[in-house]
């Protein structure tokens, strides 16, 4: 390996509860929730009627009418978050050859919202088997193949280096950043615009999660519906959003005097090879991903200061994950604060991994760990310190963030201060 290291120098976030990194951190540090009754469509025929929606006006965030027409909502999110990240980083991209700047966008379900709406039209409400092409929007191909998201981001920043969409379901947001980190380390790029975006709050998504009872039916109390690790949890709350980062080779970032939020010090992904949606309770594969990410970061388990959990709020996830922490960190699992921001911003599928990386970097910046909202009575099988209800001031130099998803994918990433001594 070349010994190149990778720094996060810019962050852009769109999350429920407020557009922009500042609003996002305000929400998390106050322990407020952004889950609510679905407003995007009439949810009355659905089992689950709660979601974490963003009040988003594309043109107010700088997209032109044509960009707004051309892009699915998730692509719009990605571009808006990209612009915030670029401004935040202070990087002058024109100082880099365009082919040394690449793009990765994670997304689990691509342009689901656009596809759902367009299908309804071309099939005339599901009436036509041979759907009518004369009613299709001109940019339907960009909904069909979501690599259009990476193209939009690349066009927005003028990137001409390696670019792709990473789509590993609910770990996409970690894997997209992990992929970008590898490209910088191996020397294929010097700067990566990396993150993820999903906008899945659409009838087809709600219907498929209804069918497997993965989402919560707690629609009489939507603000408290996302309850990771709580004994009363009964499914996740679907969310939407994006987070995008400017990643730079560390030495170059230092030379230009960039503010470095964190080094992406370690990353690994494993598969459970067990079931497309089910998890074995032992957490063995997630534990293996955690061990491997810590190894790569050359960080010992006891040096992890905070774990940003997947914490989706399904019965099986929270136990699986708790077991994985114990398996990989041993006794330290009982000492390290663990929290799930999905309690506040919901589960935005492929986007949430990047949003959680943003939360992790901000926790390091502020030395505050965000809480797990709505956690009043822990499940007895979830017996770690989940930082219930209120944020905690906490020296946070090293963060482990994890994700788990359909397809059996388990991913782990370690953020650390670059100035730490390397063992």
């Amino acid at each position: 390996m070349t010994g190149r290291r990778v720094a996060v120098t810019g962050i852009g976030v769109l999350a429920p509860g407020g557009v922009g990194t500042e609003n996002f951190w305000d929400l998390l540090s106050a322990g407020r929730t952004a889950t609510r009754g679905i407003t995007f469509f009439d949810p009355s025929s659905f089992r689950s009627r709660v979601a974490a929606e963003i009040d988003f006006d594309a043109e107010a965030h700088g997209l032109t009418p044509q960009e707004t027409r051309r892009m699915d909502r998730a692509a719009q999110f990605a571009v808006v978050a990209t612009r915030e990240a670029l401004t935040d980083s202070g990087i002058a991209l024109d100082a880099h050859a365009p082919h040394r700047v690449g793009v990765t966008v994670g997304s689990a379900v691509g342009a689901t919202m656009g596809l759902d709406q367009e299908y309804r039209v071309v099939s005339d409400g599901g009436r036509l088997d041979c759907v009518d092409h004369t009613y299709a929007v001109p940019h339907l191909y960009d909904y069909l193949v979501p690599s259009s998201f990476a193209a939009e981001v690349a066009w927005a920043v003028g990137a001409e280096g390696p670019s792709t969409v990473v789509s590993t379901g609910c770990t996409s947001g970690i894997d997209s950043v992990g992929y970008a980190v590898e490209l910088i380390r191996e020397g294929s790029a010097d700067v990566m615009i990396a993150g993820s975006s999903d906008a899945p709050i659409s009838p087809i998504t709600m219907a498929c999660f209804d069918a497997i009872k993965a989402t919560t039916p707690r629609h009489d109390d939507p603000e408290h519906a996302s309850r990771p690790f709580d004994g009363s949890r009964n499914g996740f709350v679907l969310g939407e959003g994006a987070a995008v980062f400017v990643l730079e080779e560390l030495e170059a970032a230092r030379r230009r005097g960039a503010r470095v939020y964190a080094e992406i010090a370690g990353y690994a992904t494993r598969s459970n090879a067990y079931h497309m949606t089910g998890l074995r309770p032992d957490g063995a594969e997630m534990a293996e991903a955690i061990r491997s990410a810590l190894d790569e970061a050359r960080i010992a388990p006891q040096d992890v200061d905070y774990i940003n959990a997947h914490g989706s709020g399904t019965k099986q996830n929270d136990r699986h994950e708790t077991a994985a922490f114990k398996r990989s960190l041993k006794d330290h699992a009982y000492r390290v604060p663990v929290s799930s921001i999905k309690s506040m911003v919901g589960h935005s599928l492929g986007a949430i991994g990047s949003i959680e990386i943003a939360a992790s970097a901000l926790a390091m910046r502020h030395n505050v760990v965000p809480p797990t909202a709505n956690l009043h009575t822990p499940d007895p099988e979830c017996d770690l310190d989940y930082v219930p209800l209120a944020a905690r001031e906490w020296t946070t130099d090293t963060v482990l963030t994890v994700g788990s998803g359909f397809g059996g994918f388990q991913s782990a990433m370690v953020l650390a201060r670059p100035e730490r001594s390397l063992a």
Partner: protein, 404 residues
């Protein structure tokens, strides 16, 4: 740096199911393009496709997998089975974390999704299948291949339109170099259903010719778009040293790769393909003169054909290297295209034979040495495979015969 060898392949192609049928058809110039049979295309302006012939999923897969899988996932699972068997690998006998899966996708299980969208909008949300939560999404093939074969190592899924299949193979190589000895990789794709058809038509690149021999004519003055296809290839990639130690037969090595993205539309900057080729050769430590054959992306649209011809000409000189496009026999397979071309290139190297580009009368303007109509015998030690995705994705892979 660790050398990475291809030790197994499973092919599901419109002109042949299984490596043997595919290769004999491809050598012989036999096309798999015909009128769409998977639905009635009569109402659409385009009616030709490359459909995989003779595939009956129940002959290859357990019945419990059928209700939860899209057609393209069934093809992918079958191709993965064949690839592992071809490599002589029994995953149950190897450490489970030492084997990963990286595939490419373009539209996921779009036909499956079409069926569930129809139920949603015509009957109601409670009629949507529980399998919709994963059968259509882009990660489905990696997940299902991992589960079926017990592969617990690093996995991944890349979406970069038609360039993605090569990106997946390169990511597999990366994971092998980072210490995972074996990765199952490639792409099998397809969205030949009315909903997928309408979305592909919207892309504006589909040929509306109804003559199978005239519809997809890359580098021809009459180029008019492409014919969509389904299928692709799944390959087994291994650390070459480990493969040698276990006495595995290797088809060749993946020794170079690069990817770029084109400048914004309307920019006066040059497209990225030439640089992609140069970077891939540099990555392989080779010079242009080392390349014995180029498997072209062959978009079949005048602007894109010109860009590709200019990139090849700039690197290799006019008529400087044999170029072929066997995808004229299959149509464009999206995420499956790159891996299928890699399979074809490896088979070419092993047979000493460049497969033909069928039906094309090349425009002299392009100054390409296109291998036409008949296969061309040649000693092939190094092949370059190109793939481009809509929007501006460019990827290139360099393959070398083992032991070069």
């Amino acid at each position: 740096m660790t050398s990475v060898a291809v030790t197994g392949m499973g092919v599901v192609s419109p002109n042949g199911l299984g490596t043997q049928d595919f290769w004999s058809a491809t050598r012989g110039g036999k096309s798999g393009i015909g009128r769409v049979t998977r639905f009635d295309p009569a109402r659409y302006p385009a009616q030709l496709a490359g459909e995989v012939p003779g595939f009956r999923a129940e002959e290859h897969l357990p019945s419990r997998l059928l209700p939860q899988t899209d057609h393209m996932t069934r093809l992918a699972l079958t191709a993965a089975d064949w690839a592992l068997a071809d490599a002589g690998v029994r995953p149950a006998e190897l450490p489970e974390f030492d084997m990963g899966v990286v595939t490419a996708s373009s539209a996921g299980g779009f036909e499956f999704g079409q069926g569930e969208l129809r139920k949603l909008w015509s009957q109601g949300s409670q009629y949507v299948s529980a399998y919709q939560s994963f059968a259509w999404f882009y990660a489905v093939n990696s997940g299902q291949i991992s589960i079926r074969n017990g592969l617990k190592g690093p996995s991944g899924v890349l979406v970069s339109d038609q360039a993605g299949g090569l990106d997946a193979l390169a990511q597999a190589r990366r994971q092998i170099r980072k210490g995972t000895p074996l990765v199952v990789s490639g792409g099998v794709d397809g969205a030949i259903c009315p909903w997928g058809w309408v979305a592909q038509l919207a892309g504006g690149r589909i040929s509306t010719s109804n003559e199978p021999a005239r519809a997809y004519l890359p580098f021809d003055a009459e180029a008019r778009g492409h014919v969509p296809g389904e299928g692709g290839a799944i390959l087994v990639l291994e650390d070459a040293e480990t493969a040698r130690r276990r006495g595995a037969r290797t088809y060749g090595e993946l020794s170079g790769y690069a990817a770029t993205f084109d400048p914004r539309p309307g920019s006066d900057r040059a497209p990225g393909l030439r640089r992609t080729v140069e970077l891939a050769l540099e990555d392989a430590g080779l010079a242009p003169g080392d390349v014995d054959v180029v498997f072209a992306d062959a978009a079949g649209l005048p602007d894109l054909d010109r860009t590709e011809a200019e990139a090849i000409g700039a690197v290799f000189g006019p008529h400087g290297v044999p170029v072929t496009a066997p995808k004229t026999m299959t149509g464009r397979l999206y995420a499956g295209a790159g891996p299928l071309d890699v399979a074809a290139a490896l088979l070419s190297m092993n047979d000493g034979l460049i497969p033909p580009t069928v039906n094309v009368v090349p425009s002299p303007d392009y100054e390409l040495d296109l291998v036409l109509a008949q296969p061309r015998p040649a000693t092939l030690r190094t092949a370059l495979v190109l793939a481009r995705g809509q929007g501006g994705f460019n990827s290139a892979v360099v393959l070398e015969s083992s032991g070069r």
